[in-house]
Symmetry: C2
Subunit: 454 residues, 2 copies
Amino acid sequence: MESLRFVLPQSEIPTHWYNVAADLPSPPLPPLGPDGKPATPEQMGVIFPMAILEQEMSTERWIPIPQEVREIYRLWRPSPLVRAARLEAMLGTPAKIYYKYEGVSPAGSHKPNTAVPQAYYNRQAGIRRIATETGAGQWGCSLALACQMFGIEARVYMVKVSYEQKPYRRSMMRAWGAEIFASPSAMTQTGREALARDPDHPGSLGLAISEAVEEAASRADTNYALGSVLNHVILHQTIIGQEAKKQFEMADDWPDVVFAPCGGGSSFGGMAFPFFADNAAGGRNGKPVRLVAVEPASCPSLTRGKYAYDYGDSSGFTPMMKMFTLGHDFTPPGIHAGGLRYHGASPLVSQLYREGLIEAVAVPQLATFEAGVTFARAEGVIPAPESCHAIRAAIDEALRCKQTGEPRTLLFNLTGHGHFDMSSYDRYFAGELEDFEYPREAIEESLRHLPDFA
Amino acid sequence: MESLRFVLPQSEIPTHWYNVAADLPSPPLPPLGPDGKPATPEQMGVIFPMAILEQEMSTERWIPIPQEVREIYRLWRPSPLVRAARLEAMLGTPAKIYYKYEGVSPAGSHKPNTAVPQAYYNRQAGIRRIATETGAGQWGCSLALACQMFGIEARVYMVKVSYEQKPYRRSMMRAWGAEIFASPSAMTQTGREALARDPDHPGSLGLAISEAVEEAASRADTNYALGSVLNHVILHQTIIGQEAKKQFEMADDWPDVVFAPCGGGSSFGGMAFPFFADNAAGGRNGKPVRLVAVEPASCPSLTRGKYAYDYGDSSGFTPMMKMFTLGHDFTPPGIHAGGLRYHGASPLVSQLYREGLIEAVAVPQLATFEAGVTFARAEGVIPAPESCHAIRAAIDEALRCKQTGEPRTLLFNLTGHGHFDMSSYDRYFAGELEDFEYPREAIEESLRHLPDFA
């Protein structure tokens, strides 16, 4: 019986992360402070440990993974690479479809790949508490898990409406020992002001970020952690693509096209950048692997945004970063259930896209859930709505192969399971979801609010 | 870096199930029909396919696993055997603790191990629909998944109170294409009568079984499937223990004691029986492996029940089986959140216990959740409440080893993850759960209702 799952031994857990900054045609542009000058490590050191900031700025190609981090990775890594043979048969395609399954982590997604080293470096720096924000709860869970592993207190500001509507993500964080506050909370000045303006304030991700950053900035023993966008986050996620490459060697195969969902950019960068390393060196088989970022049509930063300096958060508290952005106050419509709601794409992903080294495609919401259900019926796993974006694009490519007869090898990043997103599937089954594409004017309007240094 | 996860290649997925009936000191006692005579295959053939009935009656030691079933197992099997090194360190025990993790199946538990062959044999017999019942939804999900894989319609009668309180298990079944009815339903005579008596009837597992059996018995194209208790179900689950044995060989180790949660008995039998095969042959290392069934103190069929013929369901529709039972109308208290609510233990498990070949222990509820949280904080995975019973017993043994200094090797069956049971954890964290032990008189009372042939 042919093997469909390719599982590396634990001795093959990569020893280094891959830093794409070493292979960029031009150096990455620095983040800018409020005065328009490059933000200094001293400024950012208020909320991040120096080891993280060094990674954020580094242009070294290989950065060693600390032994203590690999020991935690060992709890679920290497994650499996799986040949989706039943999906291929269901589609009747000559394409070979593989997926890398990150849902095997205890938190159910790829996010712990960076939460663990972030907790580790903070612990090394003597930090006892990390404050962060979470929307639906995926990042908050991952940080709670990671902090538990290193004996750090995790304090999670959870957008109030999610706090009330997603109690199970909350219980999961609690099981791992985190403290969770509905944001806006009475714990911070920002939260108290918001509550004074509106005692029934539903919260927002921007506000929760502000609360977490305020707490981190005001206490010497407390730092802040972010789950996507920044260079060090994507660096940590490159363990995904590196493992995938080794697993393709096991399978004696190699992808022609790689798909990953793209919101902030960490699941895309984590999967695609190690393949880009080969492309930068001329292509492994003499031809480059196509790398496709898949974003929602209702939050299309790469395909419809502007390449400009913009704030990382909606309130304008963070340094400005050069990235494809829809404007920092852009908000996807309420009808959008599929995650990937960030207004920009990570600077590294943006730069590669700008230079024509990766591709991007936007997919409509209903088609992503349809792809998720097709996948679940063929392969069993019920995918997270974010992952459904990559599945949609991979299925579309497989169907093109069916028309042309080309036996391409496709790979996608199955970033997580959907066990905590079944309410989104419910809305899909009930016909309550719709496709939405922003009119050009709406995007132009939010792009008018870009900062002066854009 | 030492390996903590032992993952077999897919070529090592077992080719046969192990039938413990071949190694019992005396032959299993047959189920009895309403007249007190052994139930015939013809009687049971109304709702089960002949291939399943043959397995139910078989005393062959090895029964081949069809290739089509192994191909589906391949979607998630072999499941990992994991050394819980962080848990050992947290407990400060000289014991080595391993767990076999069945939560990697798409449905999140060990149940698909039997749902898949049951769907396969029904499909082979030309059956187009399978009706079943589900309480919390774990079994319903597994059957929905399995039926999807073989193109069979799954019709799941879900206890109404769970249908309303556990919408996400329902969405999961729907994602796999099943039809779900709140029981009592208007689909069956049994359901209509119950609704006529009480339009707000909350449903019960006994009633849901009756509805599913009625539908299966009344339609030639429809059969019934059960997720535990029966011999063929435990037979299918022996893939767990067989894999575990191969994985211990990989790890160059061998368990001294094996723990598994025990409700109906399939997760215990599935894990323990392959080790019993060695015990029956004199013990692999010249000494037997201790096999410990762990049940809830509030539903203690093995440790406090009576070994007698009793009905398999609460309404008395099924054949009678010789088993340890608390009485077919025994119901655990509402305060009991941890699953394993069945009134009896499978006839095979019961017979081995009666003959002193396995052990049993009952654990109180609060201690099981405490063990689950300890495990989650050490190892990451949030365990299903059922699995927490085995974890409790394994931790207790590890703590005894700490006192005595004995470096025993322990194995437990981590039967599933707790992603759909977070509301039980919530009740635990909120202090809403209590320990409950039935007074002797209450058990004696329900044992007074045993059938005449007991």
